[in-house]
Symmetry: C2
Subunit: 328 residues, 2 copies
């Protein structure tokens, strides 16, 4: 199994991405291909593992403030080269922490969509209070969606949850502004009608239902999905920041907090996105994992594990079967 890591374009540079990839290499059996500027990447690889890592040099990379369409022309960029390698079967999966729009555009253009899928989507895991995960699809790839796209997201998300996360009866919820069937915008109301053919469609859900174990699959467009992700991070970060600030403000609470170290550690582990790794780009005829721009080494390591699981489980065949079955 050969996995290509686009090591450029992350918010914190190549260093944490390479570190995470090397961690993954220690734990699982696969071939690692790092794609990016050799001058930056080579010094990050310790001599004792340098023979196990292949570097494919690229001069260019897509920055976060570039437009996604620009990426289609920049053939020397790391993500372009990564997708060319996936297309020509030189690698079995691509993992990237760079510009997610660029990764999505290039994957769609170079690798192509699965039959019956109009818009591939990013599928992100979120923590639930019961310790399991819910899956938000689309988490940022498609900002303007049609009802058919949302239907496809539901089908893809269900198959991923069923086969990769091992939730055999994964329920699908349509994220809107109210649980009642009459709630929603024009697009979500039409998507509701399409999703009714799926036996695991629960109906409309609200933002809090992402976390309260009501559903396993949360369907929304990529604009809303991105807002959900960033809002969730913002709330969690704010609470952690305030807890620390208030604890530090008094010697008594500082003393008490010593006895709560285990509690804070468990909480941190449960809400830390890095535990979940990256997000598969579902709906393309290949295996692509997109990571958060702010990915640390642990997130990159777990993203590579996700890529391996996605390849091993043949998720694309499951999606094709299910689409055929529930298409309106």
């Amino acid at each position: 199994m050969r996995i290509a890591v686009d090591a450029m374009g992350g918010d914190f540079g190549a260093s944490p991405l390479v570190e995470g990839a090397l961690w993954a290499l220690k734990e699982k059996d696969f071939s690692l291909v790092l794609i990016g500027d050799e001058k930056i990447l080579a010094p990050l690889i310790p001599a004792q593992v340098s023979k196990e890592v292949k570097i494919v040099h690229c001069d260019d990379f897509i920055a976060m403030d570039d437009s996604a369409t620009a990426a289609l022309k920049r053939k020397e960029s790391s993500i372009y080269v990564a997708m060319e390698m996936l297309k020509s079967k030189q690698v079995d999966a691509v993992v990237s922490a760079g510009h997610s729009g660029a990764t999505m555009s290039l994957a769609t253009l170079k690798i192509g969509r699965l039959k019956g899928i109009n818009r591939p989507a990013i599928c992100t895991l979120m923590p639930r209070i019961d310790g399991n995960k819910s899956l938000v699809i689309d988490a940022g790839a498609n900002v303007d969606c049609k009802p058919e796209n949302l239907f496809e997201f539901g089908v893809m998300g269900h198959e991923y949850a069923k086969w990769i996360l091992k939730y055999p009866n994964a329920r699908i919820g349509l994220l809107t502004n109210g649980e009642e069937e009459c709630k929603g915008n024009e697009t979500s109301k039409a998507a509701f009608e399409l999703l009714k053919t799926h036996p695991n469609f629960l109906g409309n859900i609200e933002g809090n239902n992402i976390f309260d174990s009501s559903v396993e699959v949360v369907v929304c467009d990529g604009f809303v999905g991105n807002v959900v992700l960033k809002t969730s991070e913002g709330v969690a970060d704010s609470i952690v920041y305030l807890l620390k600030k208030y604890i530090k403000a008094s010697p008594i609470s500082l003393f008490g907090a010593l006895f709560l170290k285990g509690v804070f550690k468990k909480l941190k582990k449960q809400i830390d996105y890095a535990e979940y790794g990256g997000a598969p780009l579902l709906g393309i005829d290949g295996n692509v994992i997109i990571c958060h721009g702010k990915s640390n080494a642990k997130a990159m390591k777990n993203a590579i594990f996700q890529a391996i699981a996605t390849i091993e489980n043949g998720i694309n065949d499951k999606i094709l079967e299910s689409l055929e079955k529930y298409k309106n």
Copy 2:
């Protein structure tokens, strides 16, 4: 100053709403008019204050699963009667914890819009890490928006933040899926161009910027706004739930938590939506405060205080002046 409280349609019935209204009456000088089923409301009012409270009886109310348009025909419903009283100047403001879409539709139809405003919007306060508040507009009134609507939301939100929250330089952010100017969906991109005329427009922001003190005013459509609110509540509730669960699971952490009671109390106060009361419906030619369906007594009390502040500050005149100034 006469304030009408629609005491029907809240998720927990009339009891907490009436209780909160009575609390407000103890602290501020105004006339309270409760609107709803007399058989339910009268027993909730202690004999010693019954002379200070006027009940206007209604047989009907709009339930959460009714459609907003149905409310326009149900003349015997509590919110319909409340709006009629506001229209005919029998009261100076309406506060409701019922169906927000119905309240919005009736306010727009009965009271009418401010000149230059196409879509009134709900404006909700969110806690920030610095102890101040940011204001999300629209928080649920308009699920399908045009760029012009988002521009109007920005102008209205800025004036509310400036005059009522006393942030003289309130910055406006447009909530999208990325900070860069190229990010956003079709509607938000066009709204970005319109908002450029406003000197306090900062540009695109992401979900986490709602809490990190980047901006005071967060502009989005009501679909996204509602998702943001419910997601934020979901994350905060989940963290509190998990903290409690993990603390209870070990005697050592239970002991430590005794020393952190002050910390938890401060944190709870800062993230508790009830501290902020309700949400003004801005853009109509009158004063209407919409409360969360799950409002408790404290939230209702604070919502009534907001109604009083909105009347006292003449916010609608400020909005009219600002619209004239920045209109494209």
